[in-house]
């Protein structure tokens, strides 16, 4: 028994000493040649086993990796979704910017042609009191020099006039509002009349109506209308395109002639508009109208009849 105990203690001591020796040899900065040779041999012998184990357990390790990565993947998905929505918003904002830039360009062109001094503004809300009034709110006000009875235009033509100006906002009565009437002049012939807003007419979809002062005035579909201009340019400066005649009403016996008018501006989709701060020195007459009627049949149907 005693010899047995001595023997196993000897074995333990020898093995422990061997381990410590190995560690001492291997602990340096550079691996000892003997241990690195042993490592290489072990790696070479183990390679096939390792490959086989990898092949067999790849599904297991993949599954474990997937499970371990699951919380991260959730977070990643959240991140990507957020990024996606950010990018979509950015893209939408860029489209909006493009459209506004186009609007501003058109506005600039119009003001250049007519010699108007224009303050660009955004239409913020469309207000309709009880469904009768047709008005929009702009994000400019007295602070920016806006006063009541100023003309409001957009790249296409006349939008309306300022009826109230607060410090930072102002309210614009659109030409389609029932209370709006604009003194106008026919392109070319120069006959004068009035364009009344009709708000929400039941008998047609034209938002405005032209009334010419003379019962025998010559008027045809496709004729274009510009503002006549008011005294001192308020509320309307002269020469701004108002719209196009779409249908001439036959009203025998009436003192005046009436026609339906399609506004030059899409009043349902107002964004960038301009408030005319100062009228031109002289009446631009027809100069602001596009050089030739737009070929778009939908917007201004042609039909030149005397």
């Amino acid at each position: 028994m005693r010899r047995e105990r001595t023997r196993r203690r000897l074995v333990l001591a020898a093995l422990a000493a061997a381990s410590v020796g190995l560690m001492a040899v291997d602990a340096g900065d550079e691996p000892h040649p003997a241990t690195s040779a042993a490592r290489h041999a072990a790696a070479a012998a183990f390679a096939p086993v390792s490959d086989a184990a990898s092949a067999v357990f790849r599904p297991v390790t993949d599954a474990a990796a997937a499970i371990a990565a699951a919380p991260g993947a959730k977070r990643r998905i959240d991140e990507l979704e957020q990024r996606n929505s950010e990018l979509s918003a950015e893209l939408a904002a860029r489209d909006l910017d493009d459209r506004r830039s186009r609007d501003l360009e058109e506005l600039l062109q119009l003001s250049g042609l007519g010699g108007y001094e224009v303050l660009p503004a955004r239409s913020v809300t469309r207000v309709g009191t009880g469904g009768y009034a047709d008005a929009v709110t702009l994000d400019v006000g007295t602070r920016d020099g806006v006063r009541p009875n100023m003309t409001v235009v957009d790249g296409g033509g006349l939008v309306g006039r300022v009826v109230r100006a607060a410090e930072r906002t102002s309210t614009v009565l659109l030409i389609s509002d029932g209370a709006s009437s604009v003194g106008v002049r026919m392109e070319g012939t120069g006959q004068i009349g009035v364009v009344h807003g009709r708000s929400h007419p039941l008998d047609s979809d034209a938002p405005a109506e032209l009334e010419l002062m003379r019962a025998d005035a010559k008027i045809a579909e496709g004729d274009r209308i510009v503002t006549m201009g008011s005294h001192d340019g308020a509320p309307f400066v002269p020469g701004v395109p108002v719209g196009t005649v779409t249908e001439v009403r036959d009203t025998p016996g009436a003192l005046t002639r009436t026609a339906e008018v399609r506004p030059a501006v899409d009043l349902g989709a107002l964004d960038i508009v301009g408030v005319v701060l100062a009228a031109p020195e002289e009446d631009p007459r027809d100069a602001v109208l596009p050089s030739e009627p737009p070929s778009d049949a939908g917007r201004s149907p042609k039909g030149e009849q005397g």
Partner: protein
């Protein structure tokens, strides 16, 4: 017969450890020690000198086989001591399953602590007090987590071999009593 089975079990455990367990992307970096569990089972059924030698061999294999990133000899020393101590003192205690798990837990905790201690002694930059305070209990815990699937079957197989060997000699006796005077 029992020696051969023990050797096969240990080789399988080493291959399992370096081939699979060490490569699993486990959370928190705590890796279960499959070799230790099989070594405990083997040591519970063999003499101290044999268990120490078996532990040394396994540890050396773990030290040298590819994922190893530490000085050769660390696991050799630790497993050698684990084999010896479990065989020398654990056999008397481990008469029931709970006691066996207790021995395995003590061995796992001791191995993890010893590994950290060796790291400190060898100036391993990865082993600090904070890292060890987490890694030691975590490693022991995950090792004990897989012990039912490794320790119990290995131990049961070896116990079966113990009893079979004595079938012809009389009524089966518990393996821990075979040695009789093994306490010296």
């Amino acid at each position: 017969m029992k020696r051969a089975v023990s050797a096969v079990l240990l080789v399988a455990a080493v291959l399992l450890q370096v081939g699979v367990v060490d490569r699993l992307p486990l959370p928190w970096g705590a890796v279960p020690d499959a070799v230790l569990l099989v070594l405990v089972a083997v040591a519970l059924h063999s003499g101290p000198a044999g268990a120490a030698a078996a532990g040394f061999a396994c540890g050396l294999a773990i030290d040298l086989l590819p994922p190893a990133d530490h000085e050769a000899g660390r696991f050799a020393l630790l497993y050698c001591l684990v084999g010896y101590l479990v065989s020398r003192h654990g056999r008397g205690e481990a008469r029931g399953a709970p006691a066996r798990y207790g021995v395995a837990a003590a061995a796992a905790l001791g191995t993890a602590a010893g590994y950290a201690l060796l790291g400190v002694l060898l100036a391993d930059p990865r082993v600090g007090l904070a890292a060890a305070a987490f890694a030691v209990p975590a490693t022991a815990a995950v090792t004990m987590l897989i012990s039912p699937v490794l320790l119990a079957p290995a131990e049961r197989l070896l116990r079966l071999l113990d009893t079979e060997r004595h079938d012809g000699l009389g009524p089966p006796v518990a393996p821990v009593r075979i040695g009789g005077g093994w306490r010296g």
